[in-house]
Symmetry: C2
């Protein structure tokens, strides 16, 4: 076994051992750790920022883009926001220990299901070092230990943040092994991590498509992953167009670079001639470049003809596809082919079609008369999110504290045996 | 692409296409299919049994054991039991469409979570052909399509059963692609199936450790697997010994060859001298061979000294390990090392230790004063089970209809946009 393999395996073992302690900490103990972490971050600003500077300098030497350097920087504002995040997570209800469906069986056994932590979570992520704190906080609150592997460009920052968090853990008499950052930037480290199936219970990758693909193809540990968000809005024949336009504009332009931004609008043929010119005017005023089907180009000449490769593309910028459809079933067929099971919305005042859309569309979030930008853990009421899952197993959509737990069966007997 | 790869990929694609229909079938439509299947099985007994005979003859030629041949046979009793199973699944409540946690956000959005089918389930199993019907019924009731790959020794039986089930599907105007059996016995077929991540949502393997390991190491699709059941009972110092003995005997001898049978008993030191001789007498009268720690051998000389490799072994026969422990924490440490996170039980009248055991032990089922044999979907109230998961993601413990579904977010807006 190589030294690297051995080192990572030892970290994974320690994480598993610490998980036995974490899973029985009381809510109060966990909250005390989180609040202590916020104070320690504040006290150690200088240390964090001087380590962060090493990453920033290295980034400048490597000619990272200004946007990348911006994401890397642990400014006072970013540290404040991490502290705020820690306090918010402390304030969230603790899902661990919650008992569901407790009921009596005919033989008198009292059977229920109790929420418990998953155990050890492996997080593999790129760039932003604040993920180190945000992810660690959520995992800890849900009673899990975490093994983090951040991007090479943030290595000094991530190690500094881990050191600060561990200081708070130890002050509260919790094992420092509850939060560990792998101090190796080698890609091999990821592969070794993905083979620790004896010690890790879940891998959450966050980053570009290349990373996600590498993780899902090589992991022996269950993975909760998020591919892409190709979100659509279907404007039904009975849409209230005064609702439709602001929703579409908001979904597209409020933050075009994120996964819940809008990438395609489907418009019912019977209203296209009236509505598309209005909509195009509003969108173009916001700088949106529209790509459309033949019919839509005939209605609004400023719309460029879409190429086949445009349909279903996650643009992450101000481009938007427009397609004219015959009816709701035609919209369903389009979404089935080009959607990414992320967020799909309908604008309609028609009760039956609203109900059909909610029931029949397969996506992590389906909405009536609302912006696609609401598919977000905070907006949907989860309090905070550790990612958005576009696979269906375990979690589908934003993942909050509950998604970092599982349920075991609990049985209260009186001497029952099976006959 | 090889012909085999192409064929299996085509089946997976058809299964995915059919899943779009299955996911919106009403409960009544699904139940009609299930009841129709039971009738068709009954009507086609001769066909099923003549195909089954081919497998039985081939099995005899291959010198399969009597037990194997017995598991392979589709006798009238087995067909009756499959029919009964279909009717029972029809009678179960349908989890699909159930809405949980519907509540209003501060901005007026009504947000909830709706249960939906997973999509396409791949089932890989060995020997018993009745699994074909049992698994297909549960998947269909939960709105999923299924791609089945049974053992080579049951190929004629599995194909015949699929043909019968498909006849019932078509009679009820549901696509025959909802239930497909891969007609290839080659191990390569499994590997190809495990790479259909674009079309399949979940793989459930059922069989020996070799199959499970192959599947989990090669699958690009999420896997719900069951390794082994090394179940323990801890007899606390405050145990009611009149409850303890029948529970231990039942857990060990009622059906020793199954995963929820007992493999180890932990006895508190302060009662060992009084209790172990009684317990040993009862167990030995049932033919149980006891293997114990040094101390237990000193108390009961008929107990054989256990070797290190005996601890944590899933015997699946009438052997049982006995270990004397200092207290409940010593029991926890033993279970952490040697348990398999399947079923762990305590016998006690002490309130605080009962509560500690329920909360602190990490296993798919933890029980107080009851037989380990109750860790079973039927016994725990799930109605029917498609397997028992010993990994924590998505499902932990017996998996019923609900575990064959997931939840999407549903959002009812009034024109809300994000600010």
């Amino acid at each position: 076994m190589s030294n690297l393999t051995n080192d990572i395996q030892e970290m994974a073992k320690r994480a598993k051992k610490a998980a036995r302690i974490l899973r029985i900490l009381s809510t109060k103990e966990k909250n005390n750790v989180l609040l202590h972490m916020a104070l320690t971050l504040d006290r150690k600003r200088d240390f964090i920022q001087s380590e962060n500077k090493k990453d920033l300098l290295a980034g400048q030497e490597k000619n990272l883009s200004a946007a990348m350097l911006d994401r890397l920087e642990l400014s006072d504002a970013v540290i404040d926001s991490m502290m705020k995040g820690l306090r918010e997570v402390a304030a969230l209800p603790d899902p661990v220990g919650e008992i569901e469906k407790l009921s009596k069986r005919p033989n008198g056994l009292l059977v229920g299901r109790m929420r418990i932590p998953l155990g050890v979570i492996g997080m593999i992520y790129e760039s932003r070092p604040n993920v180190t704190v945000d992810a660690a906080a959520l995992c800890l609150k849900a009673g899990n230990t975490i093994l983090l592997r951040g991007g090479s460009e943030a290595i000094y920052s991530n190690l500094a943040l881990a050191e600060v968090l561990q200081e708070a853990l130890v002050s509260e008499n919790v094992s420092a092994d509850a939060i560990q950052v792998i101090p190796v930037v080698d890609r091999e480290a990821v592969d070794i991590m993905l083979h620790q199936e004896e010690h890790l219970d879940l891998i959450i990758p966050r980053g570009g498509e290349g990373l996600i693909r590498f993780v899902s193809e090589n992991s022996r540990i269950p993975v909760l992953k998020h591919y892409k968000g190709v979100c659509h809005i279907y404007v039904d024949v009975d849409a209230d167009l005064h609702k439709a336009t602001p929703i579409i504009v908001n979904s597209k332009v409020q933050r075009p670079g994120v996964c819940n931004a809008l990438e395609g609008v489907l418009i019912h043929r019977d209203i296209a001639r009236e509505y598309l010119p209005q909509l195009a005017r509003e969108l173009m005023a916001e700088g949106v470049k529209m790509l459309g089907c033949k019919e839509s180009v005939q209605i609004v000449s400023e719309i460029s003809p879409a190429m086949e490769s445009d349909w279903g593309t996650e643009f992450l910028d101000l481009r938007l596809c427009v397609k004219i459809v015959t009816d709701i079933d035609d919209a369903f067929s389009y979404i089935d082919v080009y959607g990414s099971q992320h967020t799909e919305n309908i604008i309609t005042e028609n009760y039956t079609r609203a109900r059909r859309f909610i029931e029949e569309v397969d996506a992590s979030a389906v909405m009536v008369n609302a912006s696609t930008r609401f598919n977000d853990g905070g907006e949907l009421g989860l309090g905070a999110e550790i990612g958005i899952s576009t696979t269906k197993l375990h979690a589908y959509g934003p993942m909050g504290l509950e998604e970092l737990t599982t349920r075991k069966f609990i049985v209260y007997g009186q001497g029952q045996i099976r006959s």
